[in-house]
Symmetry: C2
Subunit: 348 residues, 2 copies
């Protein structure tokens, strides 16, 4: 199966980060070389690399590159790490995974001998990268059990290989089921306003040889009514302690339609997506994004000038609509506070 590689470290401690430029997809699959911390910063900033896990891994490698340059300029090694990490933290200030990756690199620096700082950081970045890939495989393995041969499966947005440094989260479930010989028919919501489903999910599933059909978001209910969808699998941006799940705008509507048709709705996400400090989804802040994403989403004005626009980036799907949450640790089912607690016995 030809699952795209989102990013890769090329070479040794003198090497660089190579990543697929997602702003050019689906028209062109071009890999760019990031040889400076500025290039990594810019790639995160303008979404050449996107998806919480992929951003984290890119930032880890970016710290290696930035530290190496500072040390070459004569900066003391630990200070060099701090400067590189602080700089990368400004690339996308709302990405929690970015900070987690940078903290990991700062810890690596604390533990390293100053004389082999770059090598120690690279080792840690590679370990971080491998852990992300393993997480994806484990989610895929646990989730694949939920899909049956012949299933029609709906997904929303892109929780795929392109969002991680491995085979994805929601799409890992599909890839692993397909690898196990299950024939699936996937429907991909285009996912307005930014069309991650059309641009990214349709592209990576098609490339991997998975049977994929692109639909507009507002067609999902009708395809469900026709009997062609048996299950829904989506990713998550943040999950509260009771299982309420924030994900890309439109996910909640899909969950309501799935419930109305008696279809199981699954969430697949790394365990790091849980925020156990939030008792439920009501505390999850919903980012509002630029109006022009809706009014000029395709380089052309398609709405009247001056019209009021509401553009929430996420919505919250209540736990009661979720049949199971797949993490690298297993499947949480039923989805409620007790179910979540049973997967994190040492938390809180």
């Amino acid at each position: 199966m030809n699952i795209p590689k989102t990013l890769e470290w090329i070479g040794s401690t003198t090497g660089h980060l190579s990543l697929i430029d997602q702003t050019l997809l689906p028209g062109e699959a071009r890999y760019i070389d990031c040889r400076t911390v500025d290039a990594v910063w810019e790639a995160i900033r303008v979404l050449r690399v996107r998806g919480a896990p992929a951003i984290g891994v890119a930032a880890a490698y970016g710290t290696v590159i930035g530290t190496r340059a500072k040390i070459a300029d004569g900066v003391e090694p630990r200070l060099a790490v701090a400067l590189a990490a602080d700089y990368l933290a400004t690339s996308r200030p709302t990405a929690v995974n970015l900070f987690r990756a940078l903290d990991e690199m700062r810890r690596a620096a604390d533990e390293a001998a100053p004389g082999r700082m770059v090598a120690a950081l690279l080792d840690r970045a590679i370990a971080f990268h491998r852990a992300d890939q393993q997480m994806c495989r484990d989610i895929g393995r646990h989730g694949a059990e939920l899909l049956s041969d012949g299933d029609g499966v709906l997904t929303h947005c892109n929780a795929g290989a392109l969002a991680t440094s491995g085979m994805g989260t929601a799409l890992a479930v599909i890839y692993e089921a397909a690898r196990a010989g299950k024939r699936l028919k996937v429907f991909a919501d285009e996912t307005r306003p930014l069309l991650q489903g059309a641009r990214l999910t349709a592209w990576e599933l098609q490339r991997a040889g998975i049977d994929v059909t692109l639909i507009c978001d507002n067609m999902a209910a009708s395809v469900m009514a026709s009997g062609r969808i048996r299950k829904v699998v989506v990713g998550a941006d943040r999950i509260a302690a009771n299982g309420d799940t924030a994900n890309k705008i439109g996910t909640y509507g899909v969950a309501l339609c799935a419930a109305a048709h008696g279809l199981p709705f699954y969430v697949a996400a790394p365990s790091t997506t849980f925020d156990l400090n939030l008792p439920d989804g009501s505390g999850i802040p919903i980012e509002e994004r630029a109006e022009t994403e809706i009014t000029e989403g395709f380089g052309k004005r398609t709405a009247p000038v001056g019209v009021r626009v509401y553009n929430p980036a996420f919505d919250v799907t209540p736990a009661r609509l979720i049949a199971g949450i797949v993490t690298e640790l297993g499947v949480i089912r039923p989805v409620n506070a007790a179910g979540v607690r049973s997967q994190f016995p040492h938390a809180g």
Copy 2:
């Protein structure tokens, strides 16, 4: 209230049809003059004029123009009408209202003295136009009762003034409620793939001074969950004898979300929308449209080449999800075969 005029006959029997070119909206509100039957045919064909009622009225006036030219060329008056009507029938072969309008003009020709054919046709076209405007006002009047001061109202696609020769159907309900002093906050789904909500509904409501907020289709559920929507009003393309309603793709999903939030979902449409020969919605054929509407909807390719696409133009909302159907005759409520029969006592 500044409700746009979709089309208008200018002058006497030597006059012409003026219509707003909807392909230029929302960027430009330009009226074009149709002085030949070819110009009317082309306007219908390329959707400069759209919406079943508006197409019907345009075709009626087009018959006047076409007949006049044929008679001037020496064609026998009744044959001239037949030629003009047959030609216009090819402009949009699936538009039922188009055929109804042309039949009306053929009947007018049968009843007219050959010596005053053009005048008789124009009288009939004007009567047909006035009846459409009256139908809109009556729908608005009956439907306005369903809305309360302060309501948030969601609508989908464009069942507005721009779809009729009057004040619209679903939007007539909103216009008449606003006229009665009710303050409404309208949410308009952009309505992928062709964005009639963004391009047309947002434009005409904004112009009329109605508080309108544009959202992507996949945001409706989340806005409902936030409590900002109290009622849903949409149009219809075809309604079966039991109240099952075919309308623009996405309507069914909106109805499911409304039901999940306990919000009444209303359909507003002329009584001519009912097809009493269809016992229920299962017999309504669903047109599939070009893939490029989804993959290149904005003049730019946004999906991988060769990806499979499903693009149904309509979906069917079952009667059980519809709180009421507003026609020019009143409100059908509850929506079921008996309710529909009670509004059409002489049918079937």
